[in-house]
Every structure is written in structure tokens, then in C-alpha cells.
Subunit: 581 residues, 2 copies
């Protein structure tokens, strides 16, 4: 049977770095060709990075993408990679608008370009804003095998180009993706890829981006799945990887170039099937090399931790920062952020600042110092009493105004240290606080990035315990002081304050928030599920009123579909209240 060695390049692109991304494609293709690959596939819009947001609307940006791809094809040939079929995602532009495209490069030429058919426009996706849909179906015959290409969302919609490829006949479908991570997404992704492979009647080679970009993080998880659903190969998550696999396929010698019409309210557009012959004849038979091991998906905590580390690392490094600084309060949130920072950037890049006020407990100072000691990071103490005193006296502040001034003097202190020494300030708030608005705007919300913005408080604890246990397994010092995990959370902005003065216990709060925010359940739904009516009322009011604070919060790595980020757009002026039955 005809054979093909394919390579899926699970790489980390940076938005806007067209020259850098293109060089990376060249380097990885060289490696793949050295491994004997005949086909090398890169992720969706690898040349532009993903998502480019309104950069897509700059004509010069799409034009620069296209020019780079033409030039890359030539450089690939010059580098001795002309025989391989290289599939690269990029932006393109024609009379109908901007396209999310994947070009097939071969022998110094762009031999075909596929434009994404289905443009996702939900969650974090705004592709209907940026792109015009494609209708073409290029199919390239490579060493006697017919290879079709689709892009990401094309496999998440029924009746799309994969079905059409199945109808006209192909031997392999390559799906290029920039598919953002969500917790346990692989539980959906693998069966989906298997289903489309079955629909195409051919294996699907699925290559995904890896790395962080603003609030998104890509987990890779590239794979090859046979038409019968067998996972033939899988790359590890959250790391760059070249997945090389020998395929041995029954070549169909497909020649059809028309897709049968199908009924529907809107007639399906006529796909333009374009068959290109690169190498008509199969390769001589040879012994396939053994398939690489199929990477096991990570456990829930390991996966989330890796996502948070990756998102933080890439946000800091891609933005050119060398170090981060934030307040070490002695509490669990800053402790987890510190452990994440050390894992992402190394302890020497981490500057902890303890900023005790008159209301700070002794343990908050000692736990902060202990955290720094365990991590081996930089640490300084900057008491805020003198600063706070001037504001409180001069402006005659009381109550909430006095509480907030403390948080804001800390914010100013961190920003001043950032301006003076160049650190990126991190905001260590968690998703639960953000949901109910339990933070001080311009205070603890200060910073350029919020590593655990999408992590509910109960998961913060779970991650802390998991990370400590991992350290113990490896015979290392657990990074997070036990007392930071076990003590009652407190903002320490007035004497003897604890979070439960203002909020329900986190174990209950997180369950209600999960129902209201993630599940979009109504007041009536939640009551019907057995929650206390007053409690639900209180939580909903807190959530509905905190929109402004959430919007002003720094970006942070998204690990759920309903993260509080740029994809959630609630009105600021909003009088909607759920009906109370």
C-alpha cells in the first residue's frame, strides 16, 4: 500500500511576529525533512499567530502574511525542503475580504490555498468579524495519496468540508488548528477528530498550536486518528513537539471533483474541488518505522497547572519582561501565584513584596517570608502604614474608604517598584473574587497579568495541595507553606476581618457560581436545585454588580469556556434582574 511519512509541528507562534514565525516554520520543516517526512503540517495562522484580533483589519498585515508565505516557499526549496508538502496557516486577503487560510507549499511554490469554511463566532472567537468564508476544497496528490486540508472550526460543524472530502474521496485529511485549551477539552476533542476521520473515510492528522497568547493558552495535543477511531499517535500537551509518523494507506485513486448537492433551507454552496497532482506515483514500499508512543493526557490538576504555567510564562516572555513582582500576603492566592511564577520563570525572576498594614497579622508576615524562603525568590518588606496614614488623615477617611486606601497604597507601591526596576506586576486574584467583586479596583487588581483569574477559590486550594504533593513525590520542598493552605482567608483590611464576613463559605459559593456563571442557570433553576433562596439572591446580586471591576481586571489565562475575559461582554449599565418566582 502507498506510504507516507508525516510530521505534525506543534509549535509556539507569537502574534504579529511574521518573520520570526516564518523562520520557525523553516527550522522545523528542516528537522522534519531530516526525519524523512514527506508532509509537514503547522498550526492554523502560524505565520500571523492566533488570535490576531483587529490586526486582521489592517490591510498591510494580511498583505505581509501572503508575501511571507510566497517567500517562505522559495526559502524552503533553497533549504532543500522543496520535495516535502508543507502546510502553513496564515492570513490572506482578496476582493471578498480577509481569509483564514492554509497554503500548500511545494517545490518553491504556493500550489494551493484553502480558506477556512466555518468561522467560529462564539466564546473567544470573533472570526465572523474578521474573515470571509472559503468554498474551495484543494486536494493534493502526494506520492499517490490524496490529501485534503481543513482548518479548526471546520471539524466542529456538521456537514462541512470534511463530509465533502469524504464524498469526493481522499486518503488523508490534515486539520490545522489554533484550538484554545479548556479544562478537559480533550474529552471532547479526541472523539470529535475520530468522528470526522470516519466521515472522511480516511485518517485525520490534527496539528494544534501550543503556548500562551494574551488570555488564551494552547495545549497542543496534536494527534493522528485512523478512520476506525484508533489514535495512532499523540503529542504531549503544553510543549513544542514534532510528531512524526509513518502511514500506510490504501490509495483510492480518487478523481471525483464534484460534491453532490444536499437539501436545506439555504442551499449548500458549491464547493470548488481542485485536485492537484504533485507526485502521482506511490513511494517504493519500505518497512515503516515504529510509531512514537501515544502521549497520555495529563491529570486534571497537572493539566490546569501546566496551562497556567504556560500562559504566565508566554505572557511575560513574549512581552519582553524579565521578572515579575507582586504582593506576598501570606494567603493562598499569592502563594499559588508565586509557585506558578517560579515554575514558569524561575525563582530568580520572582520578587515578592510583603506590605503589612496596621491590621496585618503576624502570620501573614511570617507565612509570606516562609513562602519566599521555600521558593528561594527575592523578597522585601514595605510597610504601608506611613502612606495610608497621610491619606486617612488628610482626606478624613472611614469605613470602606479607609479599607480601600490600604489596598491602593499596596497597588501604588508595586507599580512604583515596577517603574523603578522593570518588573511586570501580577494580580493574584482568583475567579471567585472576580465573580462577586471581592477586590479593590486600583488596589489588589493592579497589574499586567492575573495568573489565576480563571481559577475558582476551591480549585486554588486543590492546586496548592497537588503542587505540594508533586514536590514531595520528587523529594523536593513543597513550595507552599502549610499554614497558607489551612488558615481562614482574610483581606486583613480591618481588625479580625475574614472573607466569610462578606461572603458565603467558598465551598458553597463556588458551586452556586458554577451554576449561575458557567451553567447560565437562572435564579429559579438554582432554587429548584435546592440552594437557599436568600443565598442565591445575594450571590446573583454580587455577580451582576461586579461587571465594571471584572472589566478593569488584568488579563489572565483562560481555562474554562466562561472565563471573565474579553469574550464575556456584559453591559455596564444594566438593570436586568432575574425574575424571583
Amino acid at each position: 500500500m502507498p506510504q507516507l511519512r508525516i510530521a505534525l509541528a506543534q509549535v509556539n507562534a507569537c502574534v504579529g511576529d511574521i518573520a520570526g514565525n516564518s523562520s520557525m516554520v523553516l527550522d522545523w520543516t528542516r528537522r522534519a525533512v531530516e526525519s524523512g517526512a514527506h508532509l509537514v503540517a503547522f498550526p492554523e495562522t502560524v505565520i500571523a499567530g492566533y488570535p490576531v484580533e483587529d490586526l486582521a483589519l489592517r490591510k498591510s498585515f494580511a498583505a505581509a502574511n501572503r508575501a511571507e508565505v510566497e517567500s517562505l516557499a522559495k526559502r524552503l526549496r533553497e533549504a532543500g525542503c522543496g520535495d516535502a508538502l508543507v502546510i502553513v496557516g496564515h492570513l490572506d486577503r482578496d476582493d471578498e475580504g480577509v481569509r483564514n487560510s492554509a497554503s500548500l507549499l511545494h517545490n518553491g511554490q504556493v500550489v494551493a490555498t484553502y480558506d477556512k469554511h466555518h468561522l467560529p463566532n462564539y466564546g473567544v472567537f470573533d472570526e465572523a468579524r474578521y474573515f470571509a468564508p472559503g468554498f474551495d476544497l484543494p486536494i493534493a496528490r502526494l506520492h499517490g495519496l490524496d490529501v485534503g486540508v481543513v482548518i479548526c472550526e471546520d471539524i466542529w460543524q456538521n456537514g462541512g468540508p470534511v463530509a465533502a472530502l469524504g464524498e469526493v474521496g481522499v486518503d488523508l485529511v490534515v486539520c490545522v488548528n489554533s484550538s484554545p485549551y479548556e479544562r478537559a477539552k480533550d474529552d471532547v476533542r479526541t472523539p470529535l477528530v475520530a468522528g470526522r476521520a470516519a466521515e472522511a473515510g480516511a485518517p485525520m492528522a490534527y496539528v494544534n498550536m501550543v503556548g500562551g497568547q494574551d488570555e488564551l493558552v494552547f495545549d497542543g495535543d496534536s494527534m493522528v486518528v485512523a478512520a476506525d477511531g484508533e489514535v495512532l499517535a499523540r503529542a504531549p500537551q503544553f510543549t513544542e513537539h514534532l510528531l512524526v509518523l509513518d502511514l500506510d494507506l490504501p490509495a483510492g485513486g480518487h478523481t471525483s471533483t464534484t460534491v453532490p448537492e444536499q437539501p436545506g433551507r439555504i442551499q449548500r454552496p458549491a464547493f470548488d474541488v481542485n485536485r492537484i497532482v504533485l507526485q502521482a506515483d506511490p513511494l517504493p514500499d519500505r518497512e515503516p518505522q515504529p510509531a512514537p508512543p501515544v502521549a497520555e493526557p495529563l491529570s486534571d490538576e497537572a493539566e490546569v497547572w501546566a496551562a497556567l504555567v504556560t500562559g504566565l510564562r508566554d505572557y511575560v516572555q513574549k512581552n519582553g519582561f524579565k521578572s515579575v513582582a507582586f504582593g506576598f500576603s501570606g494567603g493562598i492566592d499569592s502563594a499559588v501565584c508565586a509557585a506558578l511564577s517560579a515554575d514558569a520563570l524561575g525563582a530568580d525572576a520572582l520578587h515578592g513584596v510583603s506590605m503589612p498594614s496596621r491590621y496585618s497579622s503576624d502570620h501573614s508576615r511570617s507565612d509570606a517570608a516562609e513562602l519566599a524562603r521555600r521558593l528561594g525568590c527575592h523578597f522585601e518588606e514595605q510597610p504601608i502604614a506611613d502612606m495610608v496614614d497621610v491619606f486617612v488623615r488628610q482626606l478624613e477617611l472611614t469605613g470602606l474608604a479607609e479599607e480601600n486606601v490600604q489596598a491602593r497604597c499596596r497597588g501604588i507601591t508595586l507599580m512604583a517598584l515596577s517603574n523603578q526596576h522593570g518588573h511586570l506586576v501580577l494580580a493574584p486574584g482568583n475567579k471567585t473574587e472576580l465573580a462577586v467583586g471581592y477586590s479593590t479596583i486600583y488596589g489588589d487588581a493592579v497589574g499586567g497579568f492575573a495568573p489565576i483569574k480563571d481559577v475558582p477559590k476551591t480549585l486554588v486550594w486543590k492546586l496548592a495541595k497537588w503542587r505540594n504533593a508533586e514536590a514531595e513525590k520528587r523529594g523536593e520542598v513543597p513550595p507552599i507553606p502549610e499554614n497558607s493552605i489551612s488558615k481562614a482567608p482574610s483581606a486583613e483590611l480591618r481588625p479580625d476581618q475574614v472573607d466569610t464576613d462578606s461572603l458565603p463559605p467558598y465551598e458553597i459559593l463556588d458551586v452556586i457560581l458554577d451554576g449561575y456563571v458557567e451553567g447560565d442557570r437562572s435564579y429559579a433553576d438554582l432554587i429548584a436545585e435546592g440552594f437557599d433562596a436568600d443565598l442565591v439572591e445575594r450571590v446573583i446580586q454580587l455577580v451582576d454588580r461586579a461587571e465594571y471591576k471584572r472589566r478593569q481586571y488584568p488579563p489572565g489565562t483562560k481555562i474554562t469556556f466562561k472565563a471573565f475575559g474579553r469574550d464575556r461582554r456584559l453591559p455596564l449599565t444594566n438593570r436586568w434582574r432575574e425574575a424571583r418566582p
Copy 2:
């Protein structure tokens, strides 16, 4: 010829206030019916408010909209308005998704519902995210006249439902809108409405929302335009208004219910034409009442000023604030914001705070006091020297870090006064500063709303002069001190600092920014237009690097298509640099 008296209710809805918006519809319908109207039309999604953003995704919200409309129909009949045809915009939900709908209420019933066909998904619009498109074309026969309905974007796209209504035949098209204001938008809007009226072969009654909602402001500008392009009636901008007009129309007795098919790549969906007879027979002839005067569009400055006043007023009031506070620096930006605030909310709702530092000039303090004197607003002085000293000494700050601490101590002071006294803090930054990042995050960028966020610096001066001249025309004291207009702008964060130390002269800067930001012109385009290459390079670098600051800035009234707001989504991590030829 058959006659009809129509009333266009140009009202100010609030997002989420379903009950309040519905009561408003009832009140205004009663007034319209008292004026003898047979048809009363309200703006797009008047029941929900516009735009509802992700509220649209809450099932209970769309369901509550529909329930309210059903109940409203009954209440209208009970109120003696059952004979009138009332057209109200609202959200709806069915198996295919959420709809942007307009229902026809008559005699206690919802007799038909039109779902918006064209869903705008550019600029501030995200309707492809929220809504499923409609295909129905209800046409109601009212007193012998056939009335079709369309919604907003439906008239901004060619080949849409208006063309279809023209093909099957109608006597009047009602277009309900929530069409946001943009500077000089009416220059486009009136010819557009006229063109669609010609296409329909019938007059178009265009009713638009008025008032502010977050960053959007609606100018109203409701009108009736005849098929020959004559503007028969027009409501004044930026004010609630009931526009009542007698129409005398040649009734066609149209009966066609099929729209001819048209060629195209994607076959046009079959519109479902649904003719409903409410009152088959024309009204007895009577003498029409004289048409109301056709409102003249405002001058450019008057229109922008009214937009800014409306946007600010509604943001403050709809969010339940009674007063605003911000720093009076003696400069032009805070002076214009003060004049806007006094016009929007009254001088008694305005609290000016002068916050001199050691670098503040004498004129900055005297100009601030003079501004307050002219406006008759509240005014206090809070020197920041003591606060700044503690930070600078304790943290050993120099240079930019020392400059920023001053701005941030002002920010904390304003937020503390807000927490203590309940004022909404305004951020008086202008669009030019935002474009180039000439502001201090958590400093002068502090606040809940930024009134002149979308106003370039040169326009700020122009508005100041215009507002003063208007006052003089009316024999009032010009609100803005002459010295604030004429002196060189300065941030006063170090000795003898002026803006031109860091920035090109505003007259040149604003022209380059207009080209790069509004015009999306490339580096090469701008050089070709004759700008100095180094200057363009410097401006582009400033703009490209300021994205994070822009994102963290408070919302502000949008007056251009390319405002720096939620509709502009540039990546934070972004290495794109325009090619330098």
C-alpha cells in the same frame, strides 16, 4: 387616497430594564393614540435596551422579553390602545437561537413577529455572536394600507428584505433602529433611507433610539422619507420625541406572497411573506394635519457636544450616581469635562478637586479655581505633596517612577473621595493621549467614565471655543477660562514639563493619528502622503505600544467609528511592526 397617522416614538431605553422599558412603551403609545395615531413605532430592542451584549445568551433574559411583549399587548388593549398597530423591538428565542425581533401588537395580541435578517458584526456590533437571522416578511394591512417592517442593519445591506418588500408590494415600510451616533452620520443615513424608500416604492418611517448606553450614544434623528426622497418629517437629535405625521398614500391592494428568486453564489433564502389583515378598509377621508417642522441637523460642534453630554448624563444617571468628581488641573481637558458635566448633570452635581504637587504651577491652581467659580460647582484643594513624599522616600523613587507616583496619589485621592462621598470619578483624558499612551495607568486613568475619551486634542480645543462662544451668544459667562484654552499643555509631573517634550505638536500629531488609526493607513502610505519619516515612525511605535493602557482606560462616549473602546480588539502580546520601505 387611504390615510394613516403614524407616530415614531424616539425614546431612551435602559438595558435590562424590561419592566421600565415596557411601561415607557405603554405611556408613549397612550400619548400617540391621544394624538390620533393609527400606528406607533418604537426603536429596535426597545424592551431589552441596546446593546444587551452577553445578556442575550441568558435564556431567562430572552424568555422574559417575549413574556413582557405578550403581556404588553394585553395592557395596551386595556389602556384603550388596542386599535393602533404598535411595533416594538425585543429579543426572542426559538429552536434556532436568539432573535433580534420586532413584534406587531394589535388588539391585545402579538399578530406577527419580524426577525432581523441582516446581523451586523463589525465595529461595535457583535450580532452574529448573539442572534440567528430571520427569513420572514410579515406585512400587515392597516386601514387598507400594507405595512412592512425591517430592522436597522436590514437597510444597510443591499438585496435585503426592503428589496423583497418592494417586489411583493407594500405602501409603507417601518424601519426600527438602535443605530449609534457617529460624527456626521446623518450625511450617510438620510440618503440611505431615501434610497431604500425608492427601492420599496413606498415611504420609509425610520425610528431610532436616543440616549446613552455604556460607550454608545444614540442620536435619534428619526425621520419619514417619501419614495421620491423627500424628507417629510424629522425629529430633533439627542432628545426624546414623538414624531406624528399624517400620510396620504396610494394603496396598491398588494396580494403577492412570493419573492422572485435571484442569482448568486449562495442562493437567496426563500422569504416567507406573511400577509395579515388587521383592518381591510381605508379610513374615511379627512383633512391631514400640517406636518411638524423638519428638524435641522446640528452643526458639527453642537452635535458632538450634545453626544458627549448625552453619553455622560445617561452613564451617570442610569448607573444610579448623583454626582461626579475629578481633578481640576487647570488644563483644557478637565475644563471641557467640567463644562460637559455641568451641562449634563448641573453644577451642583460636580465636585472639582485641585491636587497640586510641588511641580504644579501657580496658574494651574488659579485656572482650576477660576473654572469652578465660572461653573458654580463644588471645589476643594487637596495637595498631594505629603503622600508623594512618603512613597518617594520609602521606595527611593526617581525619574518616571517618581512622576507616576504623583499621578497615582491623585488617583487614590479621587477614589477615596468617591468611596467616602459616593461620587462617580471621571477620567478627563482625550483620544490623542490614549492613542499614544500619554497617561498614567492607575493615575489620571482612574475613574468610572471618560467623557472625552474619543475626542482628539485639537477637537477638545475647538469644542472649548465653541462652548464659550455659545455662552456669549446667550449672554452667559463662558464656562472655560481663556487661559486654560491658550496655555501650552503640560502634565506638570516634573519642573517646566510641557507635552511637546514627549509628543509632536498636537496639530500634526492629530493628523497623523487620523491617518494611522481612523484611516488604517500603513507606514508607507503616510510617508507617501508627505509626513516626516521619523515622526511617523515615532507615532506608530507609541500607538502600537499603548494597547494595554487603552484597554484599562474607563469607557467613554464614542463619537467615531474607530473609538478606542470595546469594539477595538488589538492583541496585547503583538510583535507586528509595519514594514519600513
